[in-house]
């Protein structure tokens, strides 16, 4: 079969690789679509500590079951499924407490093992056992379903940021993660959502999310605007959905007393330090948290939200490319073109 293989940092080859065999208790999924995530871009450009090359990346994937391994019940050939890519061990300290994003032995498809930028992908027995293979409801496309991974990361963010009914929330960054955070915050009952994004076309592109206020620092002072929108109190929750240290510092300035700041986007690994006035946290009694990843439970909630239209998944589909255009797909994502770039290995 054909696969996009990373053989080293910034080394990519479109290769013919052996078709994977389904292990007992596992599945083979014919990949219909796999979206590019920021992690894929990072992995290609800089490598990734957890990833060992050669590797087939890709973890936001959906497809049809091509083969069902021995000893599996409840799945059948030809079934349309989406895969929750983070496979928890299910037995460690964190898994046993329902904190699968902190699993000590977390195995991510397309990071720790071969992923979805290939015609077929093997889904391990452990993934099946942990419920990572989720049937796609009728009427939902593969691309819409493949959005569950980034969407559930936003659900994890809103849960841990304690977004509640009536809250004013600021989301910084209007990329796919920012847009998903807006939609998920709304589903959590946020009353006013302020979306901040420097680039005006990108801000305009995010209008489908139904945020209440769209702010660009190119047009106005962001902190002043947030204060003005909140009767000078600041926002109850600020989610920083971009990898900018400056945005993280601003978040502390615009959050309300007793508010929550979520450092959702990671910073570049060579400059992860920021400077901030820690007295702001001290005197405003602010909670600063971070979130990353998602659990299988949250992936299922995400699929429900996509099905019910709370997340307008179709809006995220910006580009559709074939496997041979993998590098171009990475480049489009890196240049922040559109929202999500989908690769169809069988196009």
């Amino acid at each position: 079969m054909k696969a996009a293989v990373l053989t080293g940092v910034q080394n990519f080859e479109l290769r013919e690789v052996p078709y994977p065999q389904p292990p007992r208790g596992g599945l083979i999924v014919k990949v219909e679509t796999c979206a590019i995530c920021g992690t894929d871009v990072k992995m290609y450009k800089y490598g990734y500590s957890a990833a060992k090359f050669p590797l087939i990346p890709g973890h936001e994937l959906a497809g049809t079951i091509a083969e069902v391994g021995e000893g599996i019940q409840g799945y059948h050939e030809g079934e349309r499924v989406v895969v929750a890519p983070n496979i928890p061990c299910g037995t460690c300290f964190y898994c046993q407490r329902g904190m699968q994003t902190s699993c000590n032995r977390l195995q991510t498809i397309g990071v720790h093992r071969d992923g979805g930028f290939a015609q077929y992908v093997m889904i391990s027995p452990q993934a099946v056992k942990q419920g990572c293979v989720i049937p796609i409801p009728e009427g939902i496309s593969f691309e819409e379903a493949a959005l569950i991974d980034p969407a559930s990361c936003a659900i994890n963010a809103c849960e841990l940021s304690r977004v509640k009914v009536g809250d004013v929330v600021v989301v910084m960054g209007a990329g796919p993660a920012g847009c998903l955070n807006v939609e998920v915050c709304r589903a959590f009952g946020a009353q006013k959502i302020i979306l901040v994004q420097r680039s005006l076309p990108r801000l305009k592109q995010a209008e489908f999310t139904g945020a209440d206020v769209y702010v660009s620092p190119l047009r106005e002072n962001v902190i002043e605007r947030v204060m003005q929108e909140t009767e000078e109190k600041g926002a109850d929750v600020v989610i920083v959905a971009c990898g900018s240290g400056e945005a993280q510092q601003q978040a502390l300035e615009m959050v309300a007393k007793r508010g929550n700041v979520n450092l959702f986007g990671g910073l570049p690994k060579d400059s992860p330090f920021i400077k901030f006035n820690s007295n702001v946290i001290h005197y405003k009694e602010v909670s600063v948290i971070g979130t990353h990843g998602c659990s299988t439970r949250q992936c299922k909630t995400a699929l429900d939200m996509i099905t019910s239209g709370k997340i307008k998944a179709k809006e995220y589909v910006s580009y559709r490319l074939g496997l041979s255009d993998f590098l171009q797909a990475i480049k489009l994502a890196e240049e922040r073109k559109g929202l999500k770039i989908f690769v169809s290995p069988n196009l």
């Binding site: 659900i155 009914v165 589903a187």
Partner: protein
């Protein structure tokens, strides 16, 4: 300003008279409101027909909206002509609960419509701090339903809200129940089930986006909820009907570690046989009581509610079953008491 007005005055339980009385005199921290709409709360029927108000004579009515016609010397944050609704509870501001902003738990409160004169009248006097401005999108009828919207919201918030995707059962589809349905939907509820015994009310619930409506007279409520929740029970159960049957059943349809919110009052003893009591214990249920609503500056459910009503997420209009002139109020309460009418929210207008 005129000196006399018409009002519905309660002189004794069951003795509600539409008569002429003096227009209230306002103090420096009050405003005088011209009442545009006043709703019947579930508690009003019992109060007017059976239990009486705390003092007599008393003008009942605590869910209302109107237009300010006169402001006290220290009430300049509002002006004549402003469209408002108001928190009907007047806190003592001295007890431990008031000092925490939990006015609904005040030890020594005054209350419009049961301890002081309320809004079944042409005019009502209100402390300026109790006022909430109505956004332009919210009309007077809707504004008069801010109170029940807040009561429903408060109940859900008492239990810490829900996580998106969780299943919810609302017992009773009166105004509070239907507002609760809309709030949990706004918070991302997964499967939403509403239960009542009146088909017309369930029809309205369906129109408001409830997934499964159960007529408990026709179907086995417990069985049906279990079937709808894959045998697990609901993550959140809210009892708004105030009937002994549903108060008990709320415990049988809750899944392990579920939250059960009791917001309907009881009118008789609620006995818990072993089977019901054991559910609380074995399933580690969290049972919450909730009364009235929060008006604290930090967590003002009234401000949240009017905004959600303005944005159209919370709809109150479908809950109005009757609009009646204030002069017909005594007869209306009599018919309600004698169960001669099926009603949801009734809006009285002077």
């Amino acid at each position: 300003m005129k000196e006399r007005m018409m009002a519905a005055v309660l002189h004794a339980p069951g003795d509600l008279r539409y008569e002429e009385v003096e227009v209230p005199k306002i103090g420096p921290n009050d405003v005088l409101l011209k009442v545009k709409a006043a709703g019947n709360c579930g508690s009003d029927l019992q109060r007017i027909m059976v239990e009486g108000t705390h003092v007599f004579p008393c003008i009942p009515g605590h869910e209302f909206s109107g237009e300010i016609v006169e402001i006290g010397d220290n009430a300049s944050s509002f002006k004549a002509g402003d469209r408002v609704t108001a928190y009907p509870l007047i806190p003592c501001m001295r007890c431990e609960w008031c000092l925490q902003g939990q006015y609904n738990l005040c030890e020594d409160y005054d209350y419009l419509g049961s301890r002081s004169h309320g809004a079944f009248a042409e005019y009502v006097k209100i402390p300026v701090v109790n006022l909430v401005r109505l956004p332009k999108e919210v009309d007077f009828d809707e504004g008069a339903m801010t109170d029940p919207a807040c009561v429903a919201l408060h109940g859900i918030k008492r239990a810490g809200g829900i996580r998106p995707g969780q299943s919810v059962v609302i017992l009773g589809t009166g105004p509070i129940g239907m507002l609760a349905c809309q709030w949990v939907k706004a918070m991302g509820a997964g499967k939403l089930v509403a239960v009542d015994i009146i088909e017309d009310k369930l029809k309205i619930a369906r129109g408001l986006g409830v997934d499964v409506c159960i007529n408990a007279k026709k179907e086995d409520l417990v069985e049906k909820v279990m079937e709808e929740t894959k045998g697990k029970g609901a993550d959140l159960v809210m009892e708004t009907a105030g009937s002994t049957a549903t108060q008990r059943q709320s415990l049988l349809i809750a899944r392990k570690r579920a939250k059960v919110i009791l917001i309907g009052r009881s009118y008789s003893d609620v006995l818990l046989p072993d089977e019901f009591f054991t559910r609380i214990f074995r399933r580690e249920l969290e049972v919450y009581g909730a009364v009235n609503s929060n008006f604290s500056p930090l967590d003002n459910e009234w401000k949240i509610s009017v905004r959600f009503m303005a944005s159209g997420v919370i709809k109150t209009k479908p809950l109005i079953s009757h609009r009646i002139k204030l002069e017909d109020i005594a007869g209306t309460f009599k018919s309600m008491y004698e169960q001669k009418m099926i009603y949801n929210k009734i809006i009285f207008s002077p």
